[in-house]
């Protein structure tokens, strides 16, 4: 089976072609990052128009790279939410049109489900596994029991960790995107110079909170005066990163213990989403997994940030279970992972 995936739910326009033999035949992503880094933030592709301008070309490029024709596709998979609604609609309409014209099945994929299943494309991970999903917009701990069977064990009660990285970078005058910039700066920093509050320390459960940490960073930066030195910036970055990594690891530990007793034979902890590229966070999680006799699996960075290969793969997974969607499915701005079903 071979599936075309389309992703337009946020800032990236993407198209990819993936087979059920776990082969990524093409994975095209158009990101505005390089172009907009000078502004200190991605200029949002709210102009659904911008997705509209590029999605056809990306589909054509993906087909060319895969050496395939549209008529070769067994199905069209597309992100139907959650996300910026204008963008989601562009992808959904494109996919519906292709499915209609080609007479092929259409699969409506939840963007978070696509992140959640990526490790099965890259590492053939067996169900069930514990997933830590960390992106700009989401921080969640999920027991992934099967396709369409996602038990959300914890989520952020305020900001997502990726947002905390981006805003910390902004406060420190570091470039966008904040994750890599903070990680680079932190390398030369002393994490022990500033004591930042550890979110939800001593509280049971697996939820996250990063808003207070962001505020503490703002206060710390303010205390450094108008012109912090490079060392000051490095030290704050290091303190923030260590605190965020520790918080993620500590909350994941709670989830892992619950998960391991519910699924005594499960052996895999998966970290996915753009923030999974952070080395400090990976190290903490690898240590945690090791302590519990788990393996840590992290898809490569190109498949952790937003892409369409994950959408095509999630489409394949759903199609193998006979789960296809009608041409009139509605794009959804809000679509929590816990509401995704295998029906």
């Amino acid at each position: 089976m071979i599936v075309l995936g389309i992703e337009t739910s946020c800032d990236e326009t993407a198209a990819a072609i993936v087979t059920d033999a776990r082969e990524i035949r093409a994975n095209k992503v158009l990101s505005q990052l390089a172009e907009h880094a000078p502004y200190g933030g991605v200029v949002p592709e709210i102009a659904a128009r911008s997705h509209l301008d590029h999605v056809d070309r990306l589909v054509r490029e993906a087909l060319a790279e895969a050496g395939a024709k549209l008529s070769d596709m067994d199905a069209i998979a597309v992100t139907g939410g959650p996300g910026l609604i204008g963008g989601v609609i562009v992808g959904a309409v494109t996919a519906k049109t292709l499915a209609q014209v080609l007479g092929k099945p259409l699969i409506n994929v939840n963007h978070l489900e696509a992140h959640a299943l990526t490790c099965r494309l890259t590492h053939d991970v067996a169900f069930p596994y514990l997933l830590l999903l960390v992106t700009g917009g989401h921080s969640q701990l999920v027991a992934v029991e099967g396709v369409g069977r996602y038990r959300v064990m914890g989520t952020t009660i305020d900001d997502a960790v990726g947002e905390a990285f981006d805003k910390t970078a902004k406060l420190l005058g570091l470039p966008y995107p904040g994750g890599p910039a903070v990680e680079r700066a932190a390398k030369a920093g002393d994490a022990s110079r500033f004591a930042l509050p550890r979110p939800l320390l001593g509280k049971p459960g697996c939820d996250f909170s990063f808003s207070g940490l962001k505020t503490a960073v703002a206060q710390t930066v303010e205390g450094l005066g108008p012109a912090p030195s490079e060392q000051d910036v490095a030290d704050v970055a290091a303190a923030f990163q260590a605190t965020a990594a520790e918080a993620l690891s500590r909350r994941t530990r709670n989830a892992l213990e619950t998960f391991a007793s519910a699924f005594p034979r499960a052996r895999t902890l998966v970290v996915a989403g753009g923030v999974a590229a952070n080395g400090a966070i990976r190290n903490e999680l690898a240590a945690l997994a090791g302590e519990h006799g788990f393996d840590l699996v992290a898809p490569p960075p190109a498949l952790c940030s937003d892409n369409a290969a994950m959408v095509a793969w999630a489409g394949l997974e759903r199609m193998k279970l006979g789960l296809t969607d009608a041409l009139d499915f509605k794009a959804r701005p809000r679509w929590p992972l816990g509401e995704v079903r295998a029906t």
């Binding site: 946020c10 709210i46 917009g137 989401h138 952020t156 900001d159 505020t215 703002a218 206060q219």
Partner: protein, 165 residues
């Protein structure tokens, strides 16, 4: 103008409750303040308070709209649109988010409202938040602009006075 200290999160929640009670269809709340001033927290409390007042279960998540730019809460008699315009570059981009639809039919809560430029509605309630010292302490400066804005300010002022009494 109402100026009030918010000693802790409970005080912020109390302000949000009072505000949630006086807002109606077409009202606009402009939330300003630096990164970490507590804009999203206040918006979140308003959204939760409206769900509670309508005897609805709280939304499963009230995420920050920094990346999605807008989150729409349809539950209850009047929908609420929560915008974060931080990433907007041009005021025109706000129109792509259907913000005019929100102004007409919903309660609109906007973070980083300065990004709206000329599209800022004439009637609105402005809340400027700032940090005071460490921890969760904040100060709020609340100003009604335009006839409806002044009405909201007066109503809020009387609710807050009752709460304090």
């Amino acid at each position: 103008m109402i100026e009030m200290p918010l000693a802790d999160l409970a005080a912020t929640r109390a302000l949000a409750r009072a505000l949630a009670g006086v807002l109606g269809r077409g009202d606009v709340v402009a939330l300003s303040g630096a990164l970490g001033a507590g804009k999203t927290e206040l918006a979140r409390f308003v959204i939760l308070a409206r769900a509670e007042a309508a005897r609805l279960p709280p939304p499963a998540e009230v995420p920050s709209p920094t990346y999605t730019l807008v989150q729409v809460y349809e539950a209850g008699a009047v929908p609420l649109w929560h915008f974060d315009l931080y990433r907007l570059e041009r005021p025109d981009d706000a129109l792509e988010l259907a913000i005019e639809e929100a102004f007409a039919d919903a309660i609109t809560v906007i973070e980083w409202p300065d990004r709206l430029g000329p599209y800022m509605p004439d009637d609105r309630i402005e809340i400027a938040l700032s940090r005071t010292g460490a921890g969760d302490a904040r100060r709020a400066a609340i100003t009604g602009i335009g006839a409806r804005g002044r009405e909201i300010e007066a109503a809020l002022s009387s609710v807050l006075a009752k709460g304090a009494a």
